[in-house]
């Protein structure tokens, strides 16, 4: 079993696959091939891929693709799922317009 924190490890060359064109993160339109390439560029965690590609940063906030991206990393790095953290959760967990986010009401009806 490999450690995902060992960035010096050789994960082999990027070899294209027939389903690389399939969209994984539909909100940001990111394909499987782009995610696999990102891993070969050195992005080994869901968080890193998220910052690198914006996967999981769209409307659904990774609700759909979070699991799918994780599975791609698991396969590409040949690790077990439990070794990988899912992306960090932070507020707001649902998309919200800036004008609403900035409109903090003090009174409660």
């Amino acid at each position: 079993m490999k450690s995902i924190n060992d960035r010096s490890q050789d994960i082999g060359p990027f070899v294209s696959q027939t389903d690389d064109g399939v969209i994984i993160c539909r909100c940001e339109e990111i394909t499987k091939g782009e995610i696999r390439q990102a891993i070969h560029d050195g992005m080994f965690t869901v968080n890193e891929i998220r910052r690198y590609l914006r996967s999981g940063m769209g409307l659904c906030q990774g609700q759909t693709c979070g699991r799918l991206v994780k599975n791609i990393v698991v396969q590409e790095l040949d690790v077990i799922p439990a070794q990988l953290d899912p992306a960090t959760s932070r507020s707001p967990m649902r998309p919200v317009e800036m004008k609403v986010l900035g409109n903090e009401e003090v009174t409660h009806v």
Partner: protein, 531 residues
């Protein structure tokens, strides 16, 4: 900032149950739900639930939701709808979006009961319009009366896939096939049989390899998979469909717990990222609890019990309930929860292949592979005792947590006993009056009344019917076998509906006596003409 004793996030079965218990102990409770309607998943569920009387068995899901809601109301729980909880912070503060403003609320204890979201699998074309989640299909049909499509292929043979397939047919859609990568049907055999007898084929060890269509779904290609779930080239099959429905599991929506700093684990058996909780649902942060699907994908029946446990624990945590009272109530609930965690489909048995029932009878392989019992199976389950006159035939052959049939019979003809997962048996000493209560109350639609001596050469078969329009007395249609094969002409000789049957119509058809143990469904004449 508004303060409460307890804040509950999510007004599904677990959240509402938690709120009710806590409010009964005297806590001020606020429940926030992002939906416009309370009840969570329950309000989409028009089918009768499994379980026992205490678990609201044989009651339809939406009715359970309505009951919980009025109970919550009666004990003074405040339910805020269209209120999305967007954040939770360590000191038990939440951020709620209501309308176009954000509000902060604080409580001394918080229960997270946010449920789960649907999983997706990817294949060529999966983002085309027409590919939807089973939950979405259920919401469209049962909440908004919209037919998701005309011709549907369902991916996933767990209970959700099976139940939603049946509901799609009730809504007038044609279910073309049920596909699952696993070599066995994942959900209850009784649910699978309801679909199989309508003629829907199961393709196990198959998966979708392509959704076809220029800008929306016009067809689908499925392929057989090998032991590693890899599609086998050359095994493709094509179906014309306009909708692909996915019922491939749920993932707990546990983000709020995670952002508040609760310890989490990745547990595939519980559906993904779940909080570490003790037996009462308390997380690693004292006073923050998790209940229902968010702490592990299960059922509404267990979600309600878990909710009540966390509600009582929160009350005790805040000193509204003595430790002694808490313990005695919790013990009772634990017993109830354990009784649900028995049998072939228990959380601990996931993926296990049973060869025998608890009673030692070899399980039906046909049921697991094709969705229906074959004739050899029928002979093996010896509770199909043939008697003269009308008698029940129970085609429920797996150890599932369910027993409404036992309570339903006024003549005590049906026995399950104390172990809720035991198979129902027919008591040879009791005499059936043909009242039909068992047929109507069986959540699995697995009980039929058969009278081999109805008329010389003819038998009568009474079956549960939940489609519209209802057949009429005198109608001629086609009798279908357990696999949905036409057997010949059947005449409707009785149609019964009663309040106690709760929207299940009992249809009695007359068939040649040779079909007494093979005819299990009725297809209306009009449907025959439509074909």
């Amino acid at each position: 900032m508004k303060r409460y004793d307890l804040i509950v996030v999510g007004a599904g079965p677990s959240g509402l149950s938690a709120a009710i218990e806590a409010a009964r102990c005297g806590l001020t409770v606020a429940v926030f739900d992002e939906n416009a309607k309370p009840g969570g998943q329950l309000f989409k569920q028009i089918h009768k639930f499994f379980g026992s009387k205490e678990h609201q068995a044989k009651i339809r899901g939406y009715k359970i939701g309505e009951t919980l809601l009025s109970e919550a109301d009666a004990v003074g729980v405040k339910v805020f709808l269209n209120a999305t909880v967007s954040g939770m912070y360590m000191d038990k503060e939440i951020l709620v979006r209501r309308g176009d403003a954000m509000e902060h609320c604080k409580a001394d204890a918080i229960i997270i009961a946010t449920g789960a979201s649907e999983n997706m699998v990817t294949f060529d074309g999966w983002t085309l319009p027409g590919v939807i989640g089973a939950g979405a299909a259920q919401t469209m049909m049962n909440l908004y009366s919209i037919q998701p499509g005309q011709r549907v292929l369902m991916l996933g043979s767990g209970n959700v896939g099976l139940v939603v397939s049946f509901q799609l047919m009730q809504a007038g859609c044609e279910v073309i096939a049920l596909v699952d990568a696993s070599p066995r049907i994942g959900g209850y055999g009784v649910h699978a049989s309801k679909i199989a007898r309508c003629g829907v084929p199961f393709y196990l060890s198959h998966t979708i390899t392509k959704a076809e269509g220029p800008d929306c779904i016009t067809g689908v290609e499925i392929s057989q998979v090998d032991d590693h779930f890899t599609p086998i080239p050359g095994t493709q099959k094509h179906f014309d469909v306009d909708t692909i429905c996915m019922a491939v599991g749920l993932s707990p929506m546990s983000q709020l717990l995670k952002m508040a700093g609760c310890s989490m684990i990745d547990d595939p058996r519980r559906g993904g990222q779940v909080p570490l909780v003790d037996e009462n649902g308390e997380t690693s942060i004292p006073g923050i609890f998790a209940a229902g699907d968010v702490s592990g994908i299960e059922e509404a029946s267990s979600a309600m019990i878990e909710g009540r446990m966390s509600g009582l624990s929160a009350a005790a945590y805040l000193g509204f309930l003595s430790e002694k009272d808490k313990d005695s109530s919790l013990n009772e609930l634990e017993v109830a929860l354990n009784s649900l965690h028995q049998g072939m489909f228990a959380p601990g048995s996931k993926g296990k292949a049973f060869t025998k029932t608890d009673e030692g009878i070899a399980v039906s392989q046909s049921l697991l592979k094709k969705g229906y019992l074959d004739e050899a199976d029928i002979a093996r389950f010896n509770h199909f005792d043939k008697k003269s006159g009308v008698h029940p035939v129970i085609e429920c052959t797996q150890n599932i947590p369910c027993n409404p049939c036992q309570d339903a019979c006024p003549k005590d003809c049906i026995k399950i006993g104390k172990t809720i997962t035991a198979l129902p048996r027919i008591d040879a000493d009791s005499t059936c009056t043909g009242c039909g209560m068992c047929v109507a109350s069986c959540s699995g639609q697995a009980i039929f009344l058969v009278d081999e001596d109805y008329e010389p050469g003819y038998a009568s078969i009474t079956l549960p019917y939940e489609f519209l329009p209802r057949p009429q007395k005198g109608d001629l249609g086609t009798a279908l076998s357990r696999s949905g094969q036409p057997l010949g002409v059947a005449e409707i000789i009785d149609v019964r509906s009663a309040k106690a049957f709760d929207h299940t119509t009992l249809v009695t058809m007359k068939v040649p006596v040779a079909q007494a143990m093979t005819a299990r469904f009725y297809k209306r004449e009009a449907q025959r003409a439509e074909l």
